[in-house]
Symmetry: C2
Subunit: 155 residues, 2 copies
DNA sequence: GCCCCATTGATGATGCATCAACAATCTGTT
DNA sequence: AACAGATTGTTGATGCATCATCAATGGGGC
């Protein structure tokens, strides 16, 4: 440790703290609202969205994990819990005995249909409405810039 | 459900998805880096920062929970785990037998001293550097705007 | 002094995320 | 056919977050 750290300036620190605070509180509020009004967690919601968008409403566990950017293990556990609640069912794949297909149930589709307007309204109320169109565009741009950087370095 | 939902437009949806993706991946990367290089989670880091900034390096559990914006229960559990690792110690308060004081240990200060440069560098690399100063300022402004909205409605 | 009740905090239960280890199956090679 | 290695997914352990509940204490009014 011969090098000295390049500490954050005052405005940098402020930006970082505001950003983190905003993130945490936004995620918390959104999650609690959707959960309370629809009985689905944000995680459930994402899984169901991708499932219903898939042909025949079903996907392999690994494919599902890929689209929502989760680890396969997390998806496996989560699918079990969702199946226990009747939101999805597991099916075997005739072509490949290794793969486990996950399929939305009618109850899952219904839960999603209930959650979707609630989710959209929360997003609109908490993020879209408070910002001008220009600010929203800027936020998207900033997000994409950071995502590029994240993709670049796997460190 | 007589009212029809005001769905997100294409750019709105894109902004939202980019934002969420960025958040999740940024938090994940930052957490894993700090954890790997210093042995502290981001949660540990925040607790230690506030503790070391307090007079005599100690705070009541509830006060600590307030400054990091956690529930008291979460803090109680977390302090237990940190105490088990030797990062903090619990002390009794002579003036009020209800309160539990939490105090940083030397090991805690040392762990923080190790983690801090690593944390700062990760923040700089992942967030500050990819953005122009104007973009960073805009991000702070946007964050604060959203925070205002969050403070307004407790719904 | 004594009661009411607010404050402060701990605890146990539950669900979730991650990790490492494992099992089953498929595919290509010999 | 048989084996090696890759693919696909499950499982159990551990730590973390939240919720509801409980216990102890302090402070004010009578």
């Amino acid at each position: 440790m011969t090098e000295t750290t390049h500490w954050l300036s005052e405005p940098e620190q402020h930006a970082w703290r505001s950003f983190v605070r905003m993130q945490e509180r936004l995620a918390g509020r959104l999650g609690r609202r959707v959960q309370a009004e629809s009985g689905l967690s944000v995680a459930d919601y994402g899984v169901l969205v991708h499932l219903t968008e898939a042909p025949e409403g079903r996907l392999r566990v690994l494919e599902l994990a890929r689209v929502v950017e989760w680890e396969k293990s997390r998806m496996s556990h989560h699918v079990n819990r969702m199946a226990k609640r009747g939101l999805v069912v597991r099916e075997d794949c005739p072509a490949d005995a290794r793969v486990a297909l996950v399929c939305v149930t009618a109850a899952g589709r219904e839960a999603l249909a209930t959650a979707a307007p609630c989710h959209v309204e929360a997003v609109r109320h908490l993020l879209i409405d408070p910002l001008s169109p220009a600010e929203l565009a800027m936020l998207a741009q900033v997000s994409n810039r950071i995502l590029e950087e994240l993709d670049k370095g796997c460190d």
